[in-house]
Symmetry: C3
Subunit: 272 residues, 3 copies
């Protein structure tokens, strides 16, 4: 089987399947069997079971570092076996394949491609419901659409199948009802949305919402100003690697020191 080399299409996988079972490998086998010329990258398989918002955050923090024709497959799917839709999205920042439960809404909202309130498409994104059964792996199980519907859809897109062939076009996607940070009376009210492995607590407040001389209130403590980098053993606020305000400590877990959890409030105000 000789041929010319074509740049392999990148496919990323984000799931809550963990790494103990063979579910992820099975998805890769399905993809490779249909299209061998791919570069499959694990984004994370350690999303907490059923944590759609957590997976959406990971995808949002990573997609911009991949080629613009990468195919991002996400299977965090509490609705598998119910009438929730299976979708594929083509956009100027990548393709996205998975259940229509909000996994890709933050990315499309950030790119101004959907209305974050109601999920209506606004621009250059094409969304299809994966209804065309000839592109599924048969028979389709009730419990593993990652293998039977999403992996094949990604592989067919990588092979060059037009997205419109995979099913019927949709005008909206399911919005993800994340509470965005709110600015009211000069105070920004935000939330801790992710604790990473180092104990950095990442908020949903972007750098652009900071006042000139910010003071940050979190867990009964006030932090003054934004640090340029981590500081030894000391809790500081920094602009993290995806442009969001993080609470961090060099060589220590800010989450442990302050007892932080996802969902905790972070408020930012002008330091007085």
């Amino acid at each position: 089987m000789l041929g010319y080399a074509v740049t392999p299409r990148v496919i990323t996988l984000t799931t809550d399947f963990g790494i103990v079972d063979a579910y992820v490998a099975v998805m890769k086998g399905v993809i490779i069997t249909l299209e061998s010329n791919t570069h499959i990258v694990d984004l994370s398989h350690e999303v907490r079971p059923q944590d759609v918002a957590g997976a959406a955050f990971l995808i949002q923090s990573a997609y911009r570092y991949f080629p613009k024709d990468a195919i991002h497959v996400a299977v965090v799917d509490p609705g598998v076996g119910t009438p929730r839709k299976a979708i594929a999205i083509q956009s100027p920042v990548g393709c996205f394949v998975g259940p229509d439960n909000g996994l890709f809404s933050p990315v499309l909202a950030e790119q101004q491609l959907v209305n974050p309130e109601d999920g209506r498409l606004r621009g250059k994104a094409v969304v299809v419901e994966l209804t065309e059964q000839s592109y599924w792996l048969q028979p389709v199980s009730h419990t593993f659409h990652g293998r039977d519907i999403f992996a094949p859809a990604a592989a067919h897109l990588a092979r060059g199948v037009e997205i419109g062939q995979l099913g019927r076009t949709l005008q909206k996607i399911h919005p993800l009802n994340l509470q965005p940070p709110v600015s009211r009376g000069g105070i920004v009210y935000g939330t801790i949305i992710h604790l990473d492995r180092f104990g950095n607590a990442i908020s949903n407040i972007p750098e652009s919402m900071l006042p000139p001389s910010p003071a940050l209130d979190i867990a009964g403590r006030t932090l003054h100003g934004i640090s340029e980098s981590y500081q030894e053993g000391q809790v500081v606020a920094i602009v993290g690697s995806v442009g969001l305000i993080e609470i961090a400590a060099r060589n220590a877990s800010a989450a442990d020191i302050l007892g932080l959890r996802e969902g905790d409030r972070l408020t930012v105000r002008e330091d007085t």
Copy 2:
């Protein structure tokens, strides 16, 4: 080093090495050094240490989703350093490389290629003992045949070396003494063989052994009928993604709810 593109050969890896140490990476380095045109897929490295039956289940649940010329390497090897054989198998459903301790017996039995009782070959499989030392990485350690014997064997097969060159032909493999489900007096006696990450309890009873209106007894509870899909917060029996009966609960761990463990009995009878 220019050349024409050939479809890369898929090599899957199943081990109990975990992901903290570098053992898996070392095997990949050995493979790539010998044959760079491969697509290596991690099946799982979180098999419980020395759990041959657990690894055999993972391979059995995954191999059919890979190309028919994929090479499945498994190193769960409590006998490393003892006289247990090292083998490679070529079959119509893939190649298999690892210690001869039963890891591949369920796949070959399912494909009618061996007698499950005594491991004698029946059909189109070729099995060799990896005795040809020129295909080993020298010097061979007493403790890491994954690196020194199995990874090189897989790479040489991927390069196109004939399996017969790797060693002497065998007529039987080591059978895996799994207790299969038994049907007696209209009752099917089975076992829970795997708890997955979601707390789904997978039994060894295939859909084909179910009576027309099944009632399932497990952990002192009776489940009536087979559900089409998971149901919210409720323990149900379903046909899982590999065709085996599973005990499951939507967005909850059936294993936790019922206190299930691997090895627990599941019996199925006609509902009366």
Copy 3:
């Protein structure tokens, strides 16, 4: 985008980022975006946070099994955001990219390429500080040089950029102050440097330092002689897979049996 196939360059990644967050995937996205023809191998991402010596041990135990032109990227970087240098190394045994904090010192010392005491280069290695900003991902964050400096440097090397273009040449690297095993009065004083997943305790004493009939003292116990392989349920000393003395037990954790921890002393003397 058609072209001829060139053997993909191998890039290994060693980090303390874990596998829950998307940090590793982001590094892969950056690499692939710059150079798609690579074979990226995870060495380990489960290095303990900030454990430079642990990462150095993993790299040292693995690099020799990869092609001699592989690029080994390591990001265990307690000094990120401080003036510690970012470096790339070209040597006859591979390229190495990461912070200049000792991660690569054991490999270079073992290959006689640096003086282990002061880190001065001795031979055929070229080291550059990654100062050439046109090869960075802009803007550079204060907290994620893996993404912004090290992944791009590796990708540019894989593309064929000369190492000298990436920055200014250095004459020394940061040494890693590991205490090597010491031989005094016929007794070898060593240390347990790694406990692996199986509970094998790996020391820093190489086989070459053993006396003819060794007795090993560890955790108040004496082991007589070096075993050829693990022995059932019994603690033995063996020569491990990288040539270092290991304390091990077949199908059991020697570390648990003896209560071993990293840093524990192991002494070896002639058995009397």
